[in-house]
Homo-oligomer: 248 residues x 6
């Protein structure tokens, strides 16, 4: 199967890292294509960054539809554009936040999230509520490191994340930790070893969930509210979306 | 005060109608500026349409910030880009869905929503959950009319909406109805008269809520998670958003 | 429009203060009439005080109905008698707790409440649950000052409130604070300046919400469960409520 | 033990009926004193009736405190004045709505409520939410009979209630029915036999819960938010409540 | 009435203690039969212990059905086998966790649970959610003592429980404490005196709730989803459950 | 990887069918071992059947632990013994109800469950609440067929299930259907084709989720409340569980 992982930001180093993390866990028959939008922010740390990045995510899904693509992953912890992306394809589309929440709830009864900046905690909270996991998550914590510090100051960023994970382990009454940023995809093993409890990271979780759905022949339902969008004119720089008629 | 009402779709007739509806209820000192994005879909009837429209909404907020603007309204019932827009300004930003829910809960104990297409019901459901009104809303109903039918087949669309409102009144155990589309902004009075119970429409509701906040000197909190986005590079066609440093 | 603000307790100094706070934010055409019951407690600091005060609130609504009254405000943070008051009139009736919660949720994603006595926190909690804002409120805090200390020991009471607001700001992960007592109506500006984030006070919030509803021609729904009460005999000292037949 | 059952309305026939129903189920050592306020509405069918009736309920509790009273019951399905009454005494105070909900949840997994008038359904809904039973209750139904019809048109009222209970049984997926009015206290056995499933009535349920608490030496907690109200001046016709200092 | 209290573990000393606690609060006409399974764990401190203990609980209910039994109590704080037990009988079946939660919510607005081991906290949390009391419970606390320490190191165990109860009282904003283990049935009075607020213990609470239901002629509904199980073959060591046809 | 699928009932034909369904979707490296308890009911259609079956499930997990086992599946829609089983192993343990709910929420926004008997609906409801999916599930429906009819009257049972699924599709506003019985594992494809929307079946869903977790090196957390049970004596026929010391 062909799996398209879309890093919603435009930092190539992060796209590469995400792709590598995905390949490390992919099943033998899974080919990973890691992409990023042509346009958009270099990191996603606000509702604003996220809203802009969604356009690129959707274009990457449409690009995937022109090739053979069996499943999509949206590799930013806010799951930007997730439901919109699902409308564009019969394939499954998985967000890394939802993927991590789902798997965390299968190996523990309660978990905490450790993310980058405190200001994005509300994004995680809203997703936990929408997906149904707000009672399973004891606390959303932030290590207060900007996303790109994960690229540029890896060692010190890692230390801060590990510290926060240990606090979560000791104070929150949890059995597992969810890492709240796609840029942490390469840190899972280290953090889990240092913190001494299961650590779930969304990119790798999403790869396996995508394989699971494809393996079952399950894709996004086209019956009901995730059906293809009604074709219609778009104007201006979004004219290219006009009269979109995805294969039905 | 200067109030910028952003119609997130690109249908001028609808922008005009929304502007007129707003002016009819505006207080004497309120000047209404009704705008629409330069780019985007002619109507919003899916998560996809909504995600794309959010970019235009945000550009319209940034445009408003370059002028004197005291408050913003996002005039599509899915409140596209609402939290992102709030990050861009100290002024209040109100979505018409939230506005209608808030006021409906002040004049009734339970209400129903009557919207255009069934497929957008899930958008209303998610907002009701996020805003806290899911127990106040008995049911999200759809008249099953495309948004632009409100422009092009007004009379027959109106009939269908009135019929659905009457069913809501008779079957749902409610005290009020929320109209679930910005394109219904001119129909409130007629529908309320025909249905015989209070009908709350979001554009007009949002105008008065915006006036309320401005009258109190209240704007979007810049303390915490709605602070201005961290400035950063954007690439490609979104390069213009780079190093955004709104007045602080 | 004529707006009747009912201070549910019988302390004239507080009624005056509430009236002044209301007038400071009222729109040009709004005339404020601040009243208080002829009978009742001098302050409201328990379920008991609140239950007794509701009678006076309802009498003040009935008195308002005998004049021209366009909207009512119940100016105690427990919103005593709110739904009963709504049954008595076609005009809107707004409680100051609900008013503050509504507006706080429009300028922040999460807020805390700072009230007078810890024992009344449960009243706020119950209202947050009934109105749908319990997830938006991080914490209900008390400065542990009796209500009338706001009148009699203003400076020291203010200090304690500011201290508690700062703790809320630093510990709760919020963007705004709701002041939990009608007697704080004159302190909003000072507290907001000292605490450095938006502070929402219910009396002023309610004035603007009342203006909003009246401006839209919206009043309490008389369809369904807020219809006028069925007329019937009352005995004893409540005989005056017998065969109440408000204008329909 | 001495159990004071307060019928919050002023219809003696109903007070007598409630007293009789209570005596039928009381344990040997329980003496039942059925009382009603000196002042108030003849029936309770609205928020307004309920708010006024709460005063009489509280006076009856204070009267009980001047005698030996081991427990109180508030015998109207809206539980008017419940938390205020609890503040006034160390004895347990039980509302008949809560009593019925508690016991219904012990003999079935899901129940429905059958009450008198549709307009009072919202009162039951709010209580179900506050008490925590909103998921256990499938539906709040009304037979659409005024409360006093239970006194004056007993046979036809009974028929309508039985019909509604049968519909609940056949359509709601329930195991038990809660009768939603103190005036139905004498009908339980007949309705249960006709409907063929357990029927829980609040007056009798409350008697047994009161006996349970007294038997355990448990009374209303005076630690925390149900402590005695702070003594203070009341003015006007409520002057008698001034400087209330219940035995501590 | 004949009340069968089933201690789900196999420690006779605990069964005796539970029986004595029950007898101390039982009404004159109530005869208490305290039993324990022939097979099972000596204490219940995990989901595993609980699942195994449920079999013994159900056998004890079936044994009770062969005698005259008017009500059953399951005396372990996880309420093991509760819904299954209800299927086997027309009599009421009460779990001690649910009993304690119900009564605690009648004497306070918010309570905390103090249990033995932290690892069983999740069991209490799941029950609070299922029964509807999760908002009434502020916190589930553990004294971190193994269950049998209550038998073997009574004094030091008691000290730790009292300490934890005092912390709950001082930090949680509560009015009452629920003791989270059947083995604490003899400690209620001491703890309540030491902690200075109402302490609710499940065994005694369940006795009075069972008396309440029996006194009302209420038993487990046999209409709907708690009907007797469909008779069917069981194989192996559970063959004895085959073709079970309880008296209907 | 070695995957042990435990059919909690003792009907070999069903175990075989479940094993075949699992093998059809298993990845190349996954070896499926379908087992059933030595003791227990031939089908599971009540809380009672479920409680008894849990013992056999746990014995099958312990048996698996004595071999090399990489993951476990509990193949009955009530997920009997799930949390207890997780305590016994470091491997992942997946219930088929949770598996189906998780995957259904990834391909649709709302789903309905179609199960066998109405009386087991409450089991699904409780699981939906505990797992967090109660808002995602519109309705739990029953075809009202006994479980073993799936073996013995396959054709007519299938017709009834398809009919119920079509009603769910047409009436519930959903995008997918969850089949609520392990015995339906071979019907998924037919039902999905006949109903025209995605149909998620738990056995196959659980196989892929188990592969996902194992592929990530994730197993049940042994930190916190799913740690191995404390070893202790068991008596009687459960003596074999005494002093259980799973590999740590």
């Amino acid at each position: 199967m062909r799996l398209r992982i879309i890093n919603p930001n435009t930092t190539t180093a992060m796209t590469d890292k995400i792709g590598e993390a995905a390949r490390r866990v992919a099943a033998p028959g899974t080919s990973i294509q890691a992409t990023q939008p042509a346009s958009g922010p270099v990191s996603i740390e606000s509702h604003f960054d996220e809203a802009i990045s969604a356009v690129g995510v959707l274009e990457e899904v449409l690009a995937g539809e022109r090739q053979e693509t069996d499943a999509y992953i949206i590799a930013c912890f806010g799951d930007p554009g997730l439901l919109a992306a699902r409308e564009l394809t019969r394939a499954p589309v998985i967000g890394i936040a939802e993927a991590a929440f789902h798997l965390a709830s299968l190996v523990s009864t309660r978990f905490s999230v450790v993310t980058t900046l405190g200001r994005t905690g509300i994004i995680a909270e809203h997703l936990l509520e929408q997906y149904g996991f707000h009672r399973h998550c004891r606390r959303v914590r932030a290590a207060e490191i900007p996303v790109l510090d994960l690229e540029e100051n890896g060692a010190s960023a890692l230390d801060r994340i590990i510290d926060e994970c240990r606090r979560a382990r000791d104070e929150d009454g949890i059995g597992a930790i969810v890492l709240g940023c796609g840029g942490m995809a390469d840190l899972t093993e280290t953090i889990s070893r240092e913190a001494g409890l299961p650590v779930i990271e969304g990119v790798t979780a999403a790869v396996k969930l995508a394989e699971a759905l494809v393996g079952l022949g399950l894709g996004t339902s086209k019956y009901g509210d995730l059906a293809f969008p009604r074709p219609k004119p778009f104007i201006g720089r979004f004219e290219g979306f006009s009269h979109l008629t995805p294969e039905r």
